[in-house]
């Protein structure tokens, strides 16, 4: 096949500023495409869109319409589907973000094809695309071949680490006309300040019985604060059962399943029921005074020692980084 493989990379904005996840989409598109067109639907110019060339976008197209200030499901879907139909794109790629999970299937249906969703790897295979996707809650990986004329795929967030491979990134704005949507986003309520849910946070620091008393959780809370609002405090089942922490913070088989970028297990032995809740974290750090604790078998990095000495030192170091 010699036709240039052109990929349409669907990017996202929030209140007129490009969301960083868009860099991942372009990076993913680059992996299988010889040419990449980044597209974003907005009411006007999107701040940061001109940066997409750094990650490999040959062109950056902003499709504008007055109703596109906030996510407009039907309008976005129509605009992108029409763009996809008009050009010779081999594939349309989305982020499997909250918006992408809603938008991608609509576009796929308009194009009359299925969607390979939440992919963690992409490769070109002749005229087709081979995608890898986690299934059964990450207990297995499914490799699929998408051979339709236009493949529609979405990428799991936080996996396609943005790679700078600068291309022209020529920007273009195209006004599009779409019928008034029936489904209208009236407002976006900000999440409650303060309580960052363990299942949402990028960094989770969990404490277990090794902390000895509920009051000692302040050692963990201080470490969480040192990360400047990105970290949540989790708990093992043992300390929740003992009434030290709320059930909403419990990580494990009968609590929450979390998949943060960084999981730090403090004073937690590593029972399977706990591991079941955090096994898919990108990086796992364990701090425990028992060198035989099972947690060290799953941790990427471990420190054997007294957590009351190790954690405050870690807090100090993190503060230096962020300070």
């Amino acid at each position: 096949m010699s036709a240039t493989r052109l990929i349409l990379a669907v990017c996202e904005h929030r209140d007129g500023t490009l969301r960083k996840i868009s860099h991942e989409v372009v990076t993913g598109a680059r992996r299988i495409g010889e040419a990449v067109e980044a597209v974003v639907c907005a009411a006007g110019p999107v701040q940061g869109a001109d940066q997409l060339g750094r990650f490999g976008a040959d062109t950056v197209v902003t499709l504008t319409n007055a109703s596109f200030a906030r996510y407009a499901p039907e309008g976005y879907a129509q605009a992108i589907a029409e763009r996809a139909k008009a050009g010779g794109y081999s594939a349309v790629i989305f982020a499997a973000s909250a918006t992408g999970k809603d938008l991608a299937p609509r576009v796929a249906a308009k194009l009359g094809v299925g969607l390979a969703a939440d992919c963690t790897d992409l490769a070109a295979d002749g005229g087709a695309i081979v995608a890898t996707r986690p299934v059964y809650a990450g207990k297995a990986l499914l490799k699929v071949k998408v051979a339709t004329t236009r493949a529609v795929l979405s990428l799991r967030p936080n996996v396609f680490t943005p790679v700078e491979r600068p291309k022209a990134g020529t920007t273009e704005t195209v006004a599009v006309s779409v019928p008034a949507g029936r489904v209208v986003v009236r407002e976006v309520k900000a999440a409650e300040a303060g309580a960052l849910d363990v299942a949402e946070a990028q960094i989770v620091i969990s404490g277990g019985r090794g902390l000895k008393e509920p009051a000692n959780f302040k050692v963990i809370e201080e470490l969480a604060r040192a990360f400047g609002g990105q970290a949540a405090v989790g708990a093992s089942r043992a300390v929740v059962d003992a009434g030290w922490r709320a059930h909403a913070d419990q990580v494990g088989q009968t609590g929450k399943t979390v998949s943060p970028t960084l999981y730090i297990a403090v004073g937690i032995s590593g029972a399977i029921q706990h591991l079941a809740g955090m096994r898919t974290s990108k990086v796992i750090v364990a701090i425990n005074k028992d060198k035989d604790a099972p947690i060290f078998k799953v941790a990427d990095y471990g420190v054997v020692g007294d957590l009351f000495e190790v954690v405050p030192k870690l807090t100090e170091e993190i503060k230096k980084l962020h300070g």
């Binding site: 299925g114 209208v184 060290f296 471990g302």
Partner: protein, 250 residues
């Protein structure tokens, strides 16, 4: 209110995944199958809406093998009125094919609401609901965690990164349910008995191959062997360095 709920029969979330001999699908020996947990929210919502309206019908649709009749019975035991099994042994890897089959069955049903779970816990495809909406030309809101309906107007809330989207939509509509929408009821004893007498239609269907083909199902890659960085507070500096430079998470 006339409500259709599309459900799926899936392996229990605690299933120990073994790859079948063809290397492409789950080995089903000893696997316990259940009603997809997200679909439970959809069934519950349908029942509550019908109860609130005072009259109507909740019909359950399912694309699946013959054994899925049992899954439909679970929904009937919760209180749904009737069920339709679109029987096929091969669940497509291509969600659009599933959507086409369901849309064909739902077409012309004059439904006020068509509900789905936001995704199936086996394939994580997250697409059939909105695709059915597209095929039927109906408005759609996905991953609904809170719902209010007033006549033919609806307001849904859905979680997005760092916030909650408040979405208005008209009925009839397609909605997919997320955790938190409601607390699904357990089937009552009377419900279990009554379910045996409710109508369950079985319609064999022939499905096309679709555009997505399964090449392989494999176990996840083994996590690389971790390392003990050191002992005590003295190891912290090295830990931080590794997290920054090697793991690149700081």
């Amino acid at each position: 209110m006339k409500i259709a709920v599309c459900i799926k029969r899936v392996p229990d979330s605690e299933t120990r995944v073994k790859i079948g001999s063809d290397g492409k699908r789950l080995d089903e020996a000893g696997v316990k199958f259940v009603l997809n947990p997200y679909d439970e929210f959809a069934v519950e919502e349908a029942l509550q809406r019908k109860e609130k309206a005072g009259s109507g019908e909740v019909a359950v649709m399912c694309l699946g093998p013959a054994a899925a009749a049992e899954t439909i019975r679970t929904a009937l035991a919760m209180g749904a009125d009737r069920g339709v099994l679109l029987q096929t042994d091969a669940i497509p890897a291509d969600g659009f094919v599933t959507a086409q089959a369901l849309a064909a069955e739902l077409q012309g049903g004059a439904w006020d609401l068509i509900l789905f779970g936001k995704m199936a816990i086996d394939d994580y495809n997250q697409q059939v609901g909105p695709m059915v909406a597209e095929l039927l030309g109906l408005p759609c809101v996905t991953a609904v965690a809170h719902l209010e309906i007033d006549g033919t107007k609806g307001i849904a809330e859905r979680e997005i990164e760092g916030g909650v989207e408040v979405v208005e939509f008209p009925l009839p509509a397609v909605l997919t349910a997320d955790k938190g929408l409601n607390e699904p009821r357990y089937p009552a004893l009377k419900g279990i008995m009554a379910a045996k007498k409710k109508a369950l239609e079985v319609k064999p269907v022939q499905l096309g191959p679709g555009g997505i083909e399964v090449l392989a199902l494999t176990p996840p890659p083994e996590r690389k062997e971790g390392k003990i960085v050191g002992e005590g507070a003295g190891a912290v500096a090295e830990l931080v360095r590794l997290l920054r430079e090697e793991a690149k998470v700081l």
